[in-house]
């Protein structure tokens, strides 16, 4: 029979291993952040945010067009991904057991697992080839398609955390069913849904593959949705594989900006969850 002492030793060892695993889980992010800060911070200046890229050989310049492009692409993607995703999530939560709900739930999980480059090819096939040229719209649609399953499933899960007793309380007050869904269920789950939306935005903000043959990238200033547009991930990619040191520096700076953007959105998502009036979602 094992002694108490040996049990304590084994227990301590196991706890130690879980600590190690926990540290290892966060290590990549810490390393990436430290590395990016070391490599990119020195190239970050006001110019980076306000200036256009300079031709090869000239020092300085920035990625103003790519930053604006990324924001525009996120905007287009959100216009598509949020309403469709939240609407589909509402349907799944309200009509849990219909055949359509099972199908939608399954397909949205499949879509969620689809490699992002495949979504890019899809957008190229349906929006780039028929029109004849690359466009911000095609890039936004590709990113929006990636957002839909993420938003759908988080919306559904958040709505399901709203207790039935609250719905009954509203119905018993004489709320029609549709108003119960909106004024009580949706409103109670809103903080969680907003968090899910922000997480989805953070997820697509750094996507490169769906943009390669949709938004394509643009060396010039453009905010036209029907024209090719620059995006941070594309610009980083183009600069990083170039042979110029100056461009490498800018690529590092761009990566730092991108990861900061994602980090800020993720932190915002946390704050939204915590600061909302209702604690029911926690």
């Amino acid at each position: 029979m094992r002694t108490i002492r040996s049990r304590h030793v084994v227990s301590g060892g196991m706890i130690g291993l879980t600590y190690l695993a926990a540290i290892l889980a966060t290590l990549p992010l810490v390393l990436i952040l430290v590395h990016l800060l070391a490599k990119g911070a020195s190239s970050l200046s006001l110019d980076f945010f306000t200036r256009m890229p300079k031709p090869v050989g000239e020092a300085g310049g920035g990625m103003a067009n790519a930053i604006v492009g990324t924001l525009l692409l996120i905007g287009i993607a959100s216009l598509i991904g949020l309403p469709v995703g939240i609407g589909a999530g509402l349907y799944l939560a309200e009509k849990r057991t219909t055949p359509l709900a099972y199908t939608v739930r399954f397909l949205s999980d499949v879509l969620n697992g689809l490699p992002s480059i495949v979504i890019g090819i899809f957008a190229w096939e349906f929006l780039v080839r028929p029109i004849g040229h690359f466009s911000a719209l095609a890039g936004g649609v590709a990113l929006g398609a990636m957002m839909i399953p993420l938003v759908t499933r988080t919306t559904e899960e958040m709505l399901l955390t709203v207790p039935t007793s609250l719905k009954e309380a509203a119905l018993a007050l004489g709320y029609p069913k549709w108003r119960t869904s909106i004024a009580v269920v949706l409103r109670t789950a809103l903080a969680g849904i907003a968090t899910g939306a922000l997480v989805a935005v953070a997820r697509i903000a750094g996507e490169t593959a769906p943009l390669l043959f949709t938004a394509f990238g643009n060396q010039f200033w453009s905010t036209a949705v029907r024209e090719p547009i620059a995006a941070l991930p594309l610009q980083i990619f183009a600069y990083a594989i170039s042979p110029y040191d100056e461009w490498h520096r800018l690529a590092w700076a761009g990566a730092l900006v991108l990861i900061t953007l994602v980090l800020v959105i993720s932190i915002a998502a946390r704050l939204v969850t915590r600061s909302r009036f209702g604690a029911a979602v926690d």
């Binding site: 207790p163 007793s165 609250l166 009954e168 309380a169 509203a170 119905l171 018993a172 007050l173 004489g174 709320y175 029609p176 108003r179 009580v184 409103r187 109670t188 809103l190 909302r276 009036f277 209702g278 604690a279 029911a280």
Partner: protein
């Protein structure tokens, strides 16, 4: 000479019940979940401006019976109701009667407090008013109605400086009285309480009981409880339900001190349940 002394003390009746003017009349009321009848053939008259308690062991259909009285039963998938229910002369299951209109006139409070977490104390009380704006335009400003409802629920002095705080910041007992205030705000003639003190501590329970005792002066109350002492303390009439059937329905004093049915007697003397 009595053989077995009553296990429960019942106070002297305080109101004279006018049985000629019932508030709720059920006839052959049967409530189904799918093919199973949870309430069987219940015909009863619930008096006006009095508290009627529904008692019985767990799973006997008390809550289901209560939920038939404001058409909440049918909100459960597969649930349906046979028979008729009249409230103050209106057949609530009659053709063309809108369940939403029924629920606006019959208040309900549940076992657990259900304040809307995204709304302030004030907005919670006003929730039922907002949904039926037209009906309340003449009855004063929302703030006045909110104050009146909170007064009636005995909560005003505790929350009058916290009206804009989140409703979930209140204690459990306060939340339950808030739910009662929310149900009272639309000035219903009938209020249904489904084990309203089941999740409360003794002190909060006492407050809710006192409140129910007060309410009988203005509304008809039907309360489901599995606490027989509570039924004895606060109700004028008591219905004893067993396996979905109405075994006995009498004045509370009569039912507890001189039960006619042997099953009622063994239940109220604590021999089962």
């Amino acid at each position: 000479m009595r053989i077995s002394a009553p296990a429960i003390k019942v106070p002297e009746p305080t109101v004279a019940i006018d049985s000629t003017k019932p508030c709720i009349v059920t006839r052959n009321l049967t409530a189904y979940f799918g093919n199973t009848a949870a309430v069987k053939n219940v015909s009863a008259s619930f008096p006006q401006r009095a508290v009627t308690a529904i008692i019985g062991p767990s799973g006997c259909g008390k809550s289901t019976l209560l939920r038939c009285l404001n058409r909440m039963h049918e909100t459960i998938p597969g649930a349906r109701v046979d028979g008729s229910v009249e409230i103050l002369g209106t057949a609530i299951y009659g053709e063309g009667t809108n369940p939403i209109a029924v629920r606006r006139h019959v208040g309900m409070v549940f076992q657990r407090p259900t304040p809307f977490p995204t709304m302030s104390v004030r907005a919670n009380v006003a929730a039922g008013l907002r949904i039926a704006k037209k009906d309340f335009e003449k009855s004063g400003s929302t703030d006045e109605i909110v104050e009146e409802a909170l007064q009636r629920a005995g909560l005003w002095t505790e929350v009058k400086d916290r009206l804009d705080e989140s409703a979930v910041a209140l204690s459990g007992g306060q939340q339950q009285r808030l739910c009662i205030a929310r149900a009272l705000a639309t000035r219903p003639r009938v209020i249904l309480l489904d084990e309203p003190t089941a999740s409360l501590d003794p002190l909060s329970t006492q407050k809710v009981e006192e409140l129910v005792y007060e309410l009988r002066q203005t509304v008809s109350v039907v309360i489901v409880t599995h606490n027989m002492q509570q039924a004895a303390r606060i109700s004028d009439m008591t219905a004893f339900l067993l396996a979905g059937e109405l075994v006995e329905f009498d004045s509370t004093r009569g039912l507890f001190t001189a039960p006619r049915d042997p099953r009622t007697e063994s239940y109220v003397t604590g021999r089962f349940g």
